[in-house]
Amino acid sequence: MSSINNTKSFHLISSQKVSFTFDGKKLTGFKGDTIASALLRNNINLVGRSFKYHRPRGIYSCGIEEPNALVQIISEHNEPNARATVKRIYDGMIVESQNRWPSLKMDIGAVNNLLSPIFSAGFYYKTFMGPKGFWKKVYEPIIRKTAGLGKPPKEFRSKSTHHHHNVDVVIVGGGISGLIAALKFVKTNYDVLIIEQDSFLGGILNTSKKIKEINGLDTIEWIKKTEELISKSKNIKILKDTTVSSYNYSNHLIALEDKAVGSLPPNYKPELVLHKIRTQHTILANGYIERILSFRNNDLPGVMLAGSFEKFVHRYGVVPETNPIIFTNNSSTFSLLKSLIELNCKPSAYVDNREENSIEKSTLDYLKNNNIPFYTGAEVEGCDGRNIIREAFIRHKGNIIKLKTNMLCVSGGINPDVNLFTQSKGLIKWDDNLFTFKPDKAFQNTIVIGSASGNFNFQKLNDEIKNKLNFLKEVNDTKIEIISNVENDYKISEIWDIKPEKESLWSKSFIDIQNDVTVKDLRQAITEGFDRIEHLKRFTTNSMGTDQGKISSINSLGIVSKILNKSVSEVGTTIYRPPYAPLSFSAIAGRNTYEFYDPKRKTPIHSWHIDNNAVFEDVGQWKRPWYFKNKKGETMHQAVQRESKQLRESAGILDGSTLGKIEVKGKDALEFMNLMYTNAFTKMKPMTSRYVLMLGEDGMIKDDGIVSKINDQHFIATTTTGGAPKVLADMEEYAQTEWPHLEVYMNSITEQFSTFNISGPKSRAIMRKVFSNIDFSNEKFPFMTFNNFKYLDTEVRIMRASFTGELGYEIYISPKYALELWKKIFHSGKNLGLVPYGTETMHLLRAEKGYIVVGQDTDGTVTPIDLNLNWMIGKNKKDFIGKRSLSRSDTAREDRKQLVGILPLDKNKKILEGQHILEINKLPKKIETPIEYLGHVTSSYHSPNLKHFVAMALVKGGNKLMGKKVYVSDPSKSETIPVEIVNPVFLDPENKRLLS
């Protein structure tokens, strides 16, 4: 086998040499070469091993449809399964073949080919059913080890980005049809996006010699002038090296742009851009795909699609073989024939399945005039060779003619590329003359033109486009005159597979080359009852590879129709699903990974927290200080114990800015609040506050907070940090749907106020130092009251409330002034022992007082009665959300899980959250039957103030078990911890500290 360069190809003009390695061998190609074109230029045709049988495989096509030539790019984080026919080479690129060991030429796995009788269709389904236990220990480990073609990529951080487009028209495909369509929109009011998967516009004009002239210009010159014209039109944008992968509802397309074509992806720039496009109209001008023919050993390296061979010649300037055999059943291969002769390369033979009287006269004359051996009404029965084709066997008039060759160019016909059209839910229809499916009825605003629509006649192209786009207003009238080098009408004879002359373990006739599915597999599947095309696809894995059977799926329909003696229309087609071509997860993720995975919300005090060694925890999207390290090496436990103790001895300050805040106002605000919360607000005095509960309609606690009443028409409610959006959304929903007669409005003011909680015995003294003009005495500023005060250029709202059980104040201030005030408070409290504390200390302190945390001590199955919060239910209220559910038999029963306190009898024992409350003191070593448990621990902390663990638990009938000895499980031991059920208020039950 020997290749030559086509120096007339535009690709080779002024192209630079590029060196790369394949399986360790240093090779040279040209800038712009794909791996495949460069390998062919170096006379390398064996590039990989097949998926199942490890058969030698070469380069079958010249584009995205490639089933065989999948390689691993070592220089790009081990990127596996890269299509050699798409991926461009660059200096220093390291490429390796896949799925072989120890080497590509000598692959031990090839033994699978000899075992092929047991690997036939349905092998996996039949084999891995038994014996029992084999799946986990035998089959799965082996399958996991051998599955896939390449090796997984090494860890890396992608720089893929997303880009959104909104346009009026998308043209998919920048070939001749796409360019003629684009000319219609030059300098119009339509925003147009042209998407071309190659680096050049022109499509078939670059890849074949089918067209001689357009508007009197050489094709390359016409492309150049057309591109110039389009590029100057400000309303048209061109995306090259971009492949449309999905065509979704609402004319939404996803396309992937390779920004690193022909170069090592840089670390600092995106290598891939995922374009998300919304358009009014989609013009599909994405051409056609050539299909295979199934014959004996049609997978051997050296067997290549005829159109792809021609593409290598013109697009990449490499003639893979100077004297190939051409085997066809249609008129499209004439172009290849001419191309070869014009390059002084004479095909060894031209084998046409059509009878001589069906073949175009021009073709016959050309064959005769150039003395090319040709066989009409003939077929290639099969071919032989080891790692490359050596001989082809032609069946002609009942005889078998053996010809030596290193390359066989095959064409089984061409299909409109209907993949995107069917993704858009368009309907396709079988054409009995062209032997292919064509787009029929569009489901969306989709216009299909050119060969993608089944129009293979260049003379009719301009009229077709004009007619299909004439419904659009004010598009240009373009005159296009095309002179072609080939017959205008495309003709084909029906042939799908060729009966082999001889059979052996080695010889196979493939229908899906990537997934190693043979024609025999299809027959077997039908014999076993899988005669529906969707079932057959899954049973055989036909067209389920990464190429989605682009070059063979129609052939399988043809073969199946013959076996079933049905028409192809009756057999139907499987569904084409996105993506059109494989795309990486990193492309889908874009920048929404790592530091940008989720938005981060920070309070105005965040920088101070960082400066003071805060360790943060995520609460929703918020970054909240968890605890503050006051010295190097201090553990979380040590920090929390220190913060808790210091607060109870002097004072502590918490950044509570993340708490939800909602302002409610309107003439019916009072009634609205009475309906939303369990509490009664009617008799509540203005400028006072109340701890409140919000229930779901099932009566279960949904959220809690503090409601401050300015007057009967104006309230401010706080919510939990995580519950804020939901509470506001629920308020809006109820106001708009359940109680539209109420005139009430609400705004989220979470972000409008920073909130600080200062508590501890010295908090009053600190507040007096900061706000010297305010009287904080018990008489003037009693518990659960609030007021607004002037502060600098703004106002500050101060409420006396506490979540620690200590004397405490909450300060609400505009974020602009928050950090300054925080620093001022801290400065003022320094000498009084003020300590910053985080959420963990807050949880510990509230647990000492038996205060609950919604979401920790509740789990969506807990009512206020379960928590002994009956006092928060406005019993005289006519209604509130969840009221009716509180009187259901289930919610009213006495043995529901109720919140209790838990104290270890041995004060040195540690109780863990989530552990079971049991009545038995010892668990069996092996638990064989379920063990009845009374409940579980919801909160547990070591109290530095009480010097032992305090815990809360939800326990069945807990209220009646006060003083009872029960046991708490310990996950590390079979021993349990004896504990006593007690009231959950462990500290200051008289609230002396709170009201001091």
Partner: protein, 173 residues
């Protein structure tokens, strides 16, 4: 006003603006109150803006309007205005001045860069001058106001850093 990023085709400034969120029926009385305090008529339809020398008023929904001051004020003056609105029981006015951050984005390539972060259609025929939108930019809730050749994008102040980082990332990549 602080310049954040400026390159060929894109200028991003962070602005200090005062904003009041107004909720109400939008009836005649509501219109009268707004007009009395701002000399502005309500925008004729949702997602439209009216403005004069001092204020800009955008209609977010059937019962929500956002009022912006076009010149700098002391915060207490804004709070006074909030208080004036709230003295009418049919209106809820909330001060949003410092709970939000404001980015002024201009330059011929502003749509290109913003469309790296949002699907929103910025084309003039779909998003004309003096219109506004509520949409996701870099996965966060934002309001976008189209004022002549500039966009004002606002989001919660807690997301300020994240927004700036995403914007810078979009510019750099």
């Amino acid at each position: 006003m602080k310049e954040l990023y400026s390159l060929r085709g894109l200028d991003v400034f962070q602005k200090d603006l005062h904003q009041i969120v107004l909720r109400g029926k939008g009836d005649e009385k509501f219109k009268e109150i707004i007009n009395k305090e701002t000399s502005l008529s309500l925008p004729p339809e949702n997602l439209k803006i009216t403005q004069n020398d001092k204020f800009l008023l955008a209609k977010h929904s059937f019962d929500q309007w956002n009022l912006f001051y076009l010149d700098r004020k002391e915060h207490k003056e804004v709070l006074k205005m909030v208080s004036t609105f709230n003295s009418h029981e049919e209106i809820l006015a909330s001060d949003y001045s410092y709970g939000q951050v404001y980015f002024e984005i201009s330059g011929k390539d502003k749509n290109y860069y913003l469309n790296k972060l949002t699907h929103f259609d910025f084309r003039i025929k779909k998003f004309p001058n003096l219109s506004m939108a509520q949409t996701l930019v870099a996965k966060i809730d934002c309001s976008i106001y189209h004022l002549n050749d500039k966009f004002i994008i606002t989001c919660n102040c807690s997301l300020e850093e994240y927004f700036k980082e995403r914007l810078l990332d979009a510019i750099n990549l």
